[in-house]
Amino acid sequence: MSVIKKTLIALMLVFINVLLPAADLLNQEKGVLQQASERQIQFTSFRSVPVDLDNVPLKRAVKILFHQNNLYILDSQRCELYVITLEGRWLRTIGRPGQGPGDMEYPSDFFIAPDKKIYILSSFSKRISVFSIEGRYISGFRLRNSNLYSLPDALMIDADQTIIIAEPLGDIVGRYGADGRFIAPLLTWRGTGSAGGKLLGLTGKLAPGPGNSIIHFDAFRGVFTKICANGEKTAFSSFNRESAVKLNAILSEKPGKVNNHSVMSFILWSDFCMDSQGVLYALPNPQSKESQPTLFAWSSNGVYLYQKPLDGIRNSIVLNITCDSERFAFFTRNVDLFIAEIKHKTR
């Protein structure tokens, strides 16, 4: 075989393996590890955690997060952040309802920075309150953005200690200084490119990605956007027939055909999380309790890996998910908390 032929074959392989998947990261229909169950995540046990409801009167949890073998639960209706052990025992409550220093008003997200400060975002008043990990109030400031109607939805702190905010009605993702001053947009309506400019982002969620990147999850369409440190953006998702049908009905020219009129019913994905190896997991939002909760997984490069039913959770709608290197936690609409230990992880 001549050198030219070898070169051509090599080029073709590069084209097939690199270029084609990159161009097809949206609406991926088949998971590449769907048949390889041994390479999927394995849950050894699902246990329901009895939460101390006297001290943790949960009403509407919006985010759960593992940190140092404790579980942090933010409740937007109670306006408090609860810290519990993995056995459900209450440790402390951070913040309280109100508008003063250390108070929260309909918080929507929180983030624990590497310096162990907790940043809590109050969505309606556009305020960020900073607490120590022990719950002591440190400072607070307002986000200052010229867009009056932007509604900050999610936050994270990046490696440069700047604040990243997802605000669906303004720039989709923007960067703010430590004093709340707007610095620059990172992901805008028209600048997405790879997502075809169709990112809705009604409920954006954020997480720090590998290599100082930012992962934005559009819970409306189930589309991830990875924003790299150099500004490069990659959008990826998987094909979910039920969600796609519903989305098409909503976006059709006759929206009266859609039976559910509440905005919440438009949100077709519940939550997402990323494990220590960079694998992203997300849960579609089922419309009924009878639907089996199913976990979808993507690689950090955006390749759809597999979907896996959560056998340990029945007759519940999972609203929140989080994970660390050893376990997953699921919080349901019935205010039930499940913790699943991991046996083995792939990739």
Binding site: Q77, R78, C79, R96, P97, G98, Q99, G100, E105, S125, R127, R142, L148, Y149, P168, L169, W189, K198, L200, L202, I250, L251, S252, E253, P255, V263
Partner: protein, 175 residues
């Protein structure tokens, strides 16, 4: 408007929120937080002449338009909570202020057994004193026992009001 693009859907949702949230206020909450409300006298249809805010009490002010059923519902909810507080001897004063005639408000009081103070502010003097000049939107303000503004919202959330009342009205709480 036709839903030709997702952006249009977003704008429709925003407009819907703006129109349904009648008391949408553009004021900066945090700048008003902690400001002292200077006292002014008013005439309640329940207890007669009163000082607003009532000194050494937690005060809650509800600005309503009684032509709006939603606002009347909010008044009834707050009134119900006020009755519970009084039953437990809490040191609070709840005052509703409406730009309406006294006769209309009196009928409202009788029909709904309203016990919290209700002020007819047809000239708008008290409303203007509080910086509320809309007259059509719902607004709730809460001051602590030193008449400092601690809460300003265009949304009646009884859970937050309950927590603030617990925190600021009872003995040994924040003053």
């Amino acid at each position: 408007m036709r839903l030709r693009s997702p952006q249009n859907l977003i704008y429709m949702v925003v407009l819907l929120c703006l129109f349904t949230t009648e008391g949408f206020s553009l004021k900066n909450f945090s700048e008003r937080y902690g400001g002292i409300i200077e006292p002014i006298t008013g005439k309640s249809l329940i207890t007669g002449d009163i000082l607003i805010p009532s000194p050494r009490k937690l005060n809650a002010f509800l600005f309503i338009d009684i032509k709006n059923n939603g606002h009347v519902d909010a008044l009834l909810k707050l009134n119900s909570y006020y009755r519970q507080l009084i039953k437990h001897n809490k040191n609070v004063a709840f005052i509703a202020i409406a730009k309406a005639e006294s006769q209309t408000l009196k009928k409202l009081i009788i029909d709904n057994c309203i016990e919290m103070d209700l002020i007819s502010d047809e000239p708008g003097i008290i409303s203007k004193h509080f910086g509320y000049e809309c007259g059509l939107c719902l607004q709730i303000l809460i001051t602590d026992r030193q008449s400092k503004l601690i809460y300003d919202s265009s949304r009646l959330d009884l859970y937050i009001i309950e927590r603030l009342t617990d925190r600021y009205s009872s003995d040994g709480s924040e003053d």
